[in-house]
């Protein structure tokens, strides 16, 4: 059952029994887009036509960066002198984000059909799905879905008699947040440590095994069949905010709301509607304190800032933050913000890949300072040092944006809730934590 404001496109079969099986997916129109491209309208759907349709939809990458998907695909060279690869980023590990896990476990076929269509658009015969190692059930479901798709002739050689080939295989990560960064993911997929690569060259030119590659998020691929089936214009118009933010978006809502979960709503929905109507509001007697809008790496919004925020890329940018992965963490007035911040810092300190000194040392140091604040063992100057130090931690001095993510995830909280950090410095007793 859809909640208020939900518009279910990707999630249309969510909650149905056996939603992960091919029968349920086909009954809801699954693999029709593929048939349209390869059989019914096969003269119309050249690779360029597919890319144009995706451009028209204003679909932007759902993994966090929000880069336009059609444009990203158009960067792959047209020639066929090297193999090309389609890679699905199913490494979901941005704190506060859990939508891809549901897609993998409950609706794997949408992603698979989207990847096959990407393969046709990019003249690629090979796709890989990189799942984070913890997703065991998701991996089993994806494996089973791939087998079903092969059996039906949607994957393999001569798909639906078209002469086209696309093979799909899974890969399991092994516990490293940084492998969600696309070049670290490719290193990992090549069997190495997950160390991000210096860019350029971008994966579109030199990706997996040195060949042109697109890396897209699970949700991004899952939107593609609907765009082909109903049209890019139709998809774009689903958005209700800035016209540049097309379509619906999955939001993973967690924290202090009555009904946390994954919801699919039009981009541009007011944040308040999502919290108070879709998610049933806060628990009784509680007031909103803050919202992390798009996963732990996106700057926090105070309750005041959240008041008029809209859930699209532009609306978030106006408030100095980002839509990110759509991992919304809602904090009510019972939250100990210092401990909350420490948990985020603890995570980053553990997950830096260690290649760049500012990131490796900086993220550890941020954690150390917050550990001292939390233990009532820091001075007010320490907080100042933290803020001035982090100004220089990212800003293009590192190989990948992880260092910036640490800064964006931590410092806005310290700045916006500084009195609570100061209060910790003065107290000597421990503060009760959690709910």
């Amino acid at each position: 059952m859809a909640a208020p404001h939900e518009v279910r496109v990707i999630l249309q079969d969510f909650g149905k029994p056996d939603s992960h099986t091919i029968g349920v997916y086909e009954a809801g129109g699954g693999y029709k887009a593929l048939k349209k491209i390869l059989v019914e309208e096969k003269d119309k759907w050249t690779p360029d036509a597919i890319i144009e349709e995706v451009k028209k939809s204003n679909l932007r990458g759902r993994g966090g960066a929000g880069f336009p998907t059609g444009l990203k695909w158009s960067f792959l060279p047209k020639g066929n002198d090297k193999p090309k690869y389609v890679v699905c980023n199913a490494d979901e590990s941005e704190p506060g984000t859990f939508k891809d896990r549901y897609l993998l476990e409950e609706l794997p076929h949408g992603m698979i059909e989207g990847m096959i269509i990407a393969g046709l658009a990019l003249n690629s015969n090979h796709g890989f799905i990189y799942l984070r190692g913890e997703f065991y059930l998701g991996w089993q479901r994806v494996e089973a879905a791939i087998k079903e798709a092969y059996a039906k002739g949607y994957l393999g050689e001569n798909i639906l008699g078209s002469g086209k080939t696309f093979h799909l295989a899974t890969f399991r990560g092994a516990g490293a947040y940084i492998c969600g960064e696309e070049t670290a993911l490719l290193e990992s997929l090549e069997g190495k440590r997950g160390h991000p690569r210096l860019k350029p060259p971008f994966p579109a030119v030199k990706g997996l095994y040195g060949c042109p590659t697109t890396v897209n998020n699970v949700e991004t691929f899952a939107a593609v069949p609907h765009i082909i089936l109903k049209g890019g214009d139709w998809y774009a118009k689903l958005g209700v905010g800035d016209p540049k933010s097309g379509g619906t978006k999955l939001f993973s809502v967690s924290g202090h709301v009555k009904n946390p979960g994954v919801y699919e709503v039009p981009l541009g929905l007011p944040l308040k509607k999502l919290i108070y109507e879709t998610c049933g509001g806060l628990r009784e007697g509680r007031k909103l304190k803050a919202v992390v809008p798009g996963g732990s790496s996106t700057p926090i919004l105070t309750a005041d800032e959240a008041e008029n925020a809209t859930l699209d890329y532009e609306g978030m940018a106006k408030l100095g933050t980002m839509l990110g992965s759509g991992g919304l963490i809602v904090l009510d007035d019972s939250t100990d913000i210092v401990e909350f911040t420490y948990r985020i810092a603890y995570f980053y300190a553990h997950e830096s890949c260690g290649q760049c000194t500012p990131c490796r040392e900086g993220s550890r140091w941020v954690q150390d300072v917050l550990a001292r604040v939390r233990a009532h063992d820091a001075q007010s100057e320490d907080v100042d040092t933290l803020l001035s130090f982090t100004e220089n931690m990212g800003n293009g001095t590192t190989i990948c944006p992880f260092a910036d993510a640490v800064v964006m995830g931590v410092t806005p909280i310290v700045k916006k809730f500084r009195p609570e950090f100061e209060a910790y410095l003065q107290r000597t007793e421990a503060v009760p934590s959690g709910t």
Partner: protein
Amino acid sequence: MSTEKTYQFSPHAEARFKELETKFPQRSSLVIWALHLVQEDVGYIPRDAVDYVAQRVGVAPSWVAGVVSFYSMFHEEPIGKYNLNICYNASCYLMGSDKLEECVTRKLGIKPGETTPDGLFTYTRQAECLAACGKAPAIQVNEEYYEDLTPEKLEALIDELKKKG
């Protein structure tokens, strides 16, 4: 040590490895897959398995060793039969994961990183969010997720696992 058999894939792992060999255009991709197979076989990555994987895939043992040490899911030493990964991240914290940590320490007498003397349980503080935040607090025990937990439910789970042994 000389009496100890050196590691090689179980028949099941061998069959899986052969299948995986057909799926990747370059063999180096098999390193991480092969390590997963080893860990499924013996529960951790013994030193001789590092050499074995290197030889089977065709890369240097130092490559494989570097991979083992990079990824948190690969264990270089044996761990408990049940690995209790308790999410320490933001959303689980908001929903009371501290009470789960406290419950494990009280019930099993172990702190993060420790294993019970009977070798049954290891308690891991999970730094990475488990992507279960909507049903926080959450833990993972080996491959399985347990969500919407309370200390009472966790206690019952631990009792059940103890009984299973």
